[in-house]
Symmetry: C2
Subunit: 217 residues, 2 copies
DNA sequence: TAGATTGTTAATCGATTAACAATC
DNA sequence: TAGATTGTTAATCGATTAACAATC
């Protein structure tokens, strides 16, 4: 097999996002017993263009069979490998307020091979506890705990005012991917990837469209 | 004042999203007592381009003063008006599992004029309760409850398998903005705006970058 | 007025889509 | 082989950025 592990072009983040969506679809198809699928069929499910599906996949290799399409199970395996889902990732959670506690109970992490391996808070009454199987540490100990356990992914669920300080600790600990729920823009070195889940911004965007509909009618 | 309420061009959704981000920044500036700000200053805070800031604002009118910039308080007021934040929106929440319950306690809604006015679940032991001040109804009653209370925004926090059925009810009830936490693509008429918060997709995206970093090193 | 910054047009950039030769 | 669909190049589209006249 010729080495095609490293992409030849810069890969748009939106293409990566779509890969997870294709993957979800492949899982459904596989459950239905569908053995092969064309880019056209995949695209239709999401209102996308078939060329886009083929192009997204082509960033990573040649997975299809001309005249036939893609073998469902084979493509699923390839996407899992590309997305790094064939291994378990340990994740740190910082902040155990309302949102953080909800995330601790959220099963979506486990289901997909993300294991919450350590939680952090600055409330002394929480530090030292175990919630489920997850040990709670003081936020001061982010660096040593993450380094020892080689944790590379983190979720931030602290108030906006504390988020940058926490981020700096995570970066110092060698984290390279952050899921950020704090409503603030984090500043990080280029090697670190941040995904923002800014409910406040999303609500305001929806408010805009609702207000516009109200005016229009 | 000449009517400029209706935009002359189609407005990119990303521009709307940025308006909320500018607004957050203006609030900080105002708290600091800063009276005016230039597009350059606004842009620097987010690593954006100053032309983009001016262009985003220009979709909605002329808010600046040449040679000076934008008056902080005045621009804040204008953005709030544009985003529909000068009124309170009532919001319905569907699904009271882990995530839904966490959202019920989430203060970010209240803080910004979004009031959770009704919650829905299909668990008979929950129906009829009040959680905080929020009444819980059976999901079967979405249409009458939302119509009576004229609720136009909804949050979906049900399992993926139930999300489309819930969506159809919300659409029938006249909702025109949905915040969707279910990991599935919803199909809605064009007049309805959906914002997806797909944690599963975001985690997979982060997994990709983490795996790539691991390979690179 | 001189200096600064807007609002807007034109240029650039990147992502999406169309088209088609390659090939199963 | 004939029909279908990929992988990839070229065309299109839309969003970002540069440039600058207007003007405070």
């Amino acid at each position: 097999m010729k080495s095609q592990r490293l992409a030849r072009h810069r890969i748009p983040e939106r293409a990566i996002t779509r890969l997870s969506i294709y993957l979800r679809c492949l899982e459904e198809l596989l459950a239905d017993g569908t053995l092969a699928v064309s880019s056209q069929q995949l695209a239709e499910r999401f209102g996308l263009n078939s060329a886009q599906v083929r192009k997204d996949l082509a960033y990573f290799g040649q997975f299809g069979v001309r005249g036939l399409g893609y073998y469902t199970g084979e493509l699923k395996g390839n996407l899992e490998r590309i997305l790094g889902l064939n291994q378990q990732w340990e994740v740190a959670l910082v902040g155990l307020g309302n949102l953080g506690s909800a995330l601790l109970n959220y099963r979506g992490f486990r289901q997909r091979g993300f294991r919450l391996a350590a939680a952090f808070d600055n409330d002394p009454s929480k530090v030292g506890m175990r919630i489920g199987r997850v040990p709670v540490f003081d936020v001061e100990r982010i660096v040593p705990v993450l380094k020892r356990r080689r944790i590379k992914m983190a979720v931030i669920a602290v108030p906006a005012a504390a988020a940058q300080a926490v981020t700096d600790q995570l970066v110092a600990a060698g984290v390279n991917a952050i899921l950020n729920f704090a409503p603030t823009q984090l500043s990080v070195p280029k090697r670190v990837k941040v995904q923002n889940v800014d409910l406040s911004v999303m609500l305001k965007t929806l408010s805009f469209y609702t207000a516009r509909s109200a005016r229009a009618s």
